[in-house]
Structure formats: structure tokens, C-alpha cells
């Protein structure tokens, strides 16, 4: 049924807890507290360290809160840290990452969603063969494909261009995204698709007018997965583009993996957090929609 397909997953389903201070609740919240601590600890360490000065870090207690809060490392990581001769920190890389991420995310999602839709609703001969190969592709380590892709991009004249990199991200994002979209579209009532066909809507008409408007959750998931993956990519960014469009991770790598005498842990941590900020923000903002979308994309199928 239309109205129950993708919108009813949000309520907890477990047995209802009883009294507020039952033994069960103490155990439940106790466990969750410890678990939350374990997951939050590294972030805490990163933040705390990034706010300390180097002398304080040498004291050695990574868990202690900063005695004297300084934002110097953040400023340095963002705009002053040297990577080779370039001494403008992560700031240039940041905008390059934005320029890489936005078109890559958009293109990969458009293609994968159309794939998923074609696979779910327009089963044509051989579709499953290609889909199976695609799933196999999800398991290929990127390093293995580095040279073949260099050669392919060279042959189509896109090597070293932003377009080439966008295509590479689209290709490697395709397997998992197609799987998610295919599962999602399969979970939508098929009668809707049939009704639209009777109504004379074609392949694209149904996709844009019927499917896309119903797919906000899965598009959210796709955006999150792709932004995370592409934003954090180092290998493709450095191999398939030139230095004028190196993503932020290249700067991060240069900051973290080269030192001037002493390792500046505070700057490293600040750089690390700054780099992770974009995907983190998207996670925190999209919260509930993410779970709902995952539910819709992964549960059915």
C-alpha cells in the first residue's frame, strides 16, 4: 500500500520498557552509556588535542582537557600549514574538494538511481548479468583498477581533468548505490508503476513524475554515502587530477605525513577534524532521514 511503504519505519518496535528504574533499564542505559563513551572518545581526544598547545601535548595525557585553550592549531591547519612550498593549509584543498564532490555526487546519484529504477521496474534481458557484474565491481580494491582506468581515461581524452575524476567517482559509486536504489524502487508498489504506464507515462515520465518524488529518503542515504566516500577520497583525487585541483585529503596527507622536526599533533588533529567536518555536518543534520532511507533501501528487496 502506498501510504505505508516507506513511511512507517520510524517507531521503535521492541517490547515496551516498564518502570523507570527497573534492573532492566539500569542495564540498558548503563550499556548504552559505556558504548557511547567508546564511540565518542576518539572524537573527544581529537577535539581536546586540537585545542592544546604543543608544550601541553608533550606532557603526555591525551585524555586531559586543555589547560589553556588555543585555536592556533585550527588557524594553522586551515590557512598556514605548509605542504611542500604551499603554505595555505587546507583552505585551497577545501574548495577543490567542494568542486570535486558536488558534481561527482550529483552525477553518480543520477546514474545510479536511473540504473536502480531500470533494474527494478524495466527488467530487460541481460539486466541481471550486468547487475551481477556491478555487484562484483563493488568488491574490487581501487588500487587494482588504477592503471586500467588511467589507460581508459587517456583513450577518451579525459585523463587529468575534473570530468575524468567525476566519472571515476561515478563508476566506483555505482555498484552500492545501484543496489540501494534497486532495492528501494523494488519496495515501492508495482501497481503505481503500472498505473503510470496505463496513464501513458514513459520511462522518464515515470522516473521523474512518480519515482523521484517518492524517494527522498533513499536519495538522502545516497547523498550521505557519496559525500562521505568522495570527500574522504585521496587516491583518485591525487592520481586523476593535477595539483591545481587536488582535494583536501591531499593537503591533509601532506600535513599529517610530513613534519617539521616535531610532529604537530594539535595541528594534525585540527586538520583531521576540519577535513571530516563536511560529512559530519551532513550526518548530524540528516539524522532521522538517514535511518528512514536506509530502512527503505535495505529492508526490502
Amino acid at each position: 500500500m502506498v501510504e505505508t511503504t516507506s513511511h512507517s519505519f520510524t517507531g521503535p518496535h521492541g517490547p515496551k520498557p516498564k518502570k523507570a528504574l527497573s534492573r532492566r533499564n539500569i542495564f540498558l542505559y548503563g550499556t548504552l552509556f559505556v558504548v557511547t563513551l567508546y564511540y565518542a572518545l576518539p572524537l573527544y581526544i581529537m577535539i581536546v588535542t586540537s585545542l592544546k598547545g604543543m608544550p601541553e601535548i608533550r606532557l603526555g595525557n591525551i585524555f586531559a582537557p586543555p589547560l589553556e585553550v588555543t585555536f592556533e592549531p585550527w588557524v594553522k591547519a586551515w590557512s598556514q600549514a605548509c605542504t611542500g612550498l604551499t603554505c595555505d593549509g587546507l583552505s585551497t584543498g577545501f574548495w577543490n574538494s567542494v568542486r570535486i564532490t558536488i558534481p561527482s555526487v550529483i552525477l553518480s546519484i543520477i546514474i545510479a538511481s536511473v540504473n536502480g529504477y531500470a533494474l527494478a521496474n524495466w527488467k530487460f534481458k541481460g539486466a541481471n548479468v550486468f547487475f551481477t557484474i556491478l555487484i562484483f565491481g563493488a568488491f574490487i580494491p581501487y588500487q587494482v583498477m588504477l592503471y586500467p582506468i588511467v589507460i581508459m581515461l587517456r583513450e577518451i581524452g579525459l585523463y587529468g581533468s575534473l570530468t575524468g575524476l567525476v566519472i571515476v567517482h561515478t563508476v566506483f559509486g555505482m555498484p552500492i548505490l545501484t543496489l540501494l536504489f534497486r532495492n528501494y524502487f523494488s519496495s515501492l508498489p508495482e501497481e503505481l508503476f503500472k498505473a503510470a504506464r496505463v496513464d501513458g507515462a514513459g520511462f522518464w515520465g515515470i522516473y521523474f513524475r512518480i519515482m523521484v518524488p517518492m524517494s527522498l529518503p533513499i536519495f538522502t542515504v545516497a547523498v550521505i554515502l557519496q559525500v562521505t566516500g568522495i570527500w574522504n577520497d585521496f587516491l583518485f583525487g591525487v592520481v586523476y587530477t593535477g595539483p591545481d585541483s587536488y582535494p583536501m585529503t591531499v593537503s591533509l596527507n601532506n600535513i599529517v605525513n610530513s613534519t617539521q622536526g616535531v610532529k604537530e599533533y594539535n595541528v594534525n588533529m585540527a586538520a583531521t577534524i576540519i577535513t571530516g567536518l563536511v560529512p559530519l555536518t551532513i550526518y548530524f543534520v540528516s539524522g532521522k532521514l538517514f535511518v528512514r532511507g536506509i530502512a527503505a533501501g535495505a529492508v526490502k528487496g
Partner: protein, 408 residues
Amino acid sequence: MNRSTQLLAATAIVAASSASATELEVMHWWTSGGEAAAVQEFAAAFNATGNTWVDAAIAGGESARAVMVSRLTGGDPMGAFQFNHGRQAEELIEAGLLRDITDIAEAEGWKDIVNPSTLLDACTVDGRIYCAPVNIHSWQWLWVSHKAFEDVGLSVPTNWNEFVGASQALADAGKTPLAMGQQGWQQSGAFNVMFAALVPSEIYLAVYGDKNAEVAAGPEVARVFAAAADARDMAATSTVQNWNDATNLVITGQAGGQIMGDWAQGEFAVAEQVAGQDYSCLPGLGVTELLGTGGDAFYFPVLSDDAQIAAQSELAALMLKPETQVAFNLKKGSLPVRGDIDLSSANDCMQKGLALLADGALLPDTNMLLTSDTTNQINTLFTEFFADASISAADAQADFVKIISRAE
């Protein structure tokens, strides 16, 4: 393009407005403090010619090499790139990807000025020159922290044997006798230094030059492995990864010493330490004073744009000019590739190196003798050896013999 190079470019244009400004992308993996400062000298000199040095620095030789080779195969070459000269670049030359710069070398008279001449030989394939050697790096140094030994009340050792002798006292004082980064190239590098310093050079050349497996299995090499086992014990408490973190242990006196190439010099310089006062450097471990003549070189891919080709030529010629050589090598902590320049401003350690260079107490570097495949296998062997005290020197030697017998 970044702000600092823009600025440099701007000043350069004012200075030499006659030359046309061509952007040339130069790729290298010199991102650590002293290295970056050294590259800056090249960049500044290049920008002063009216061209623009577009810096493409990628930390980590492995990533950088992946990018370089991809860019070359992908048909999007950079203007110039750093590579270890020696056997690594052979294939790129065979594939016709690299520019023949013999004309520049001849015009600049490199044949006469490059010393030792083996450096230029390493750039030469079938009589043509393909790279510009920029420095001489030698691995065969033991860096000793004065502070560490003063802390335990010992005199600073002057050779490896004294150093080993004092190690227990350092360990007892909670110090790491020998700082060693846990990476294969550092560990095998240290082994090769011991190999060069502790046994006669013929043995070294027989094993690495002639790939003589019999010699590799022999008693002389076994002595080197025994020394390596000592080094392993001395480095047992060294948990750092990067070479400069290890050097930092020496600088701060937490470790007694480190076997590392002359590039460690740059770290001491950045930390404002004075040779002979805060630290000592012992070439050939203070046992057999000799140097390997490895080094870095710049290669120039085949380009089609005339302006860029001209810029390449300018850069290549520039890199071996006396003033650039001095400025670069002082920062980099390496020795210049020409013997005809005055380096009186160099510190103690570099003077020692220059003296050895002048004496011809030299050994070819492993990079010139071995393929990177063989080097890599030796690296892996020593990574294992140094990490696992249960591997006996004899077992390691047996593996070593196997690698040498397979080497080309």
C-alpha cells in the same frame, strides 16, 4: 596556484621582466621541514628566471610515484619530477616518456663538473643523459646525541663499536640506545650502512653489484647480520614510524643515536642544533669512513609545448648552477654534485662529507645497483627482522641469499 608562489612569481616578473612567464609543474615528495626549505631554493631560483614553479608536493614516495607514473602513462605529464636516479627510471626512458637533455648537459658542461662522475652515469642510458642530478645523499652516517650521553655521564662515542658498548648504560637510564623508524626502507638502509662500514667494500660490491649469492651466504655477511641483530636489540624500545620522528628522539636526547642518511642533517638544522656541539655525525659509522653516492635527480617528461620545453631546459640548467647547488644543498643537508664550488659555509658534518668526496672514499648507492623490486624485498626482510626478535641472524641471512640469487 598558491599565494606564496604567486607572490614569488610577481616579484620575479618585476626582476626579470624580459623573460616570458611559463608555468612549470614540478612534482616531488619533499614535504618535511628541511626538504621543503631546500625545494624552496629551487623554486625561488626558477621563479627569478621569470618562469613560475608550480609546486606539486605529495607526502610519501609511494603515493608520489603512483601519481607520477599514472600521469606519465595517462598522457598528462608534469613539467619535471623528482625521482631516485638509478635503475628506477630505466623503463620510463625506454618507453620514450622522458626528455633527452643531453644538449643541456653538454651546453652546461656537466661532464666536467659533476663529481663523482657516477652520478651522471646513473642518468645516462645508451650515451644519452635523461636527468639532472641535484645532490649527493649518503646513507652511511651515525648521528649521535651529545645530550643523551651527557645525561648518563658517558663520553660521546666516536665509532659504532663504542656506541654499541655504551648502549646498555643508555638502556638502563630509560633511553633508547638506537632510534629506528619502523619502516622497511629505514631498517634495510641501516643494514646496508653496516654492510658498507663493517666489512670490506669488495664484499658489498660482490653481493649488490654482482649479485653473488655465495658471498651473500658467507661469513663476512654473517658478521653484518650479527651487527644487525645488535642494532635490533638496541632499537627494541623505538616505536616511532617516520625517520624524522626517530631523528627527533636523537635531537631531544631520548635516544643515543640513529643510523640515517645525511638528510637527517636538515632536521638538526631546523631544530637549531650545532654539529660537534649538540650532536656528532660519524660517516661510515666511524669505522670505515666512506660514503655512498646516491642522490636525487630531476627528470623531464617529453612535452609538446615549446614554452614549457624552454622552461624545462632553464630549470635543468639552473639546478646545477653553483649558487643554486650551494643554497639547495645547505638546506637539504646533502652534498653538491659539483666539486668546484666553495662550501665553506657548510657545517662540520658536511665538511666531513666533502672531504670524503674529495678523497674518493665512495661506494655506489644501492639504488644504482638494485632494482626497486629487489630493494623492496630486502626492505620487507628487514621489516620482519627488526620487528621480530625471534628471527635469528642466520635465518634472515638465508632469506637474504634467496633474494640476492633472484635479483637481476
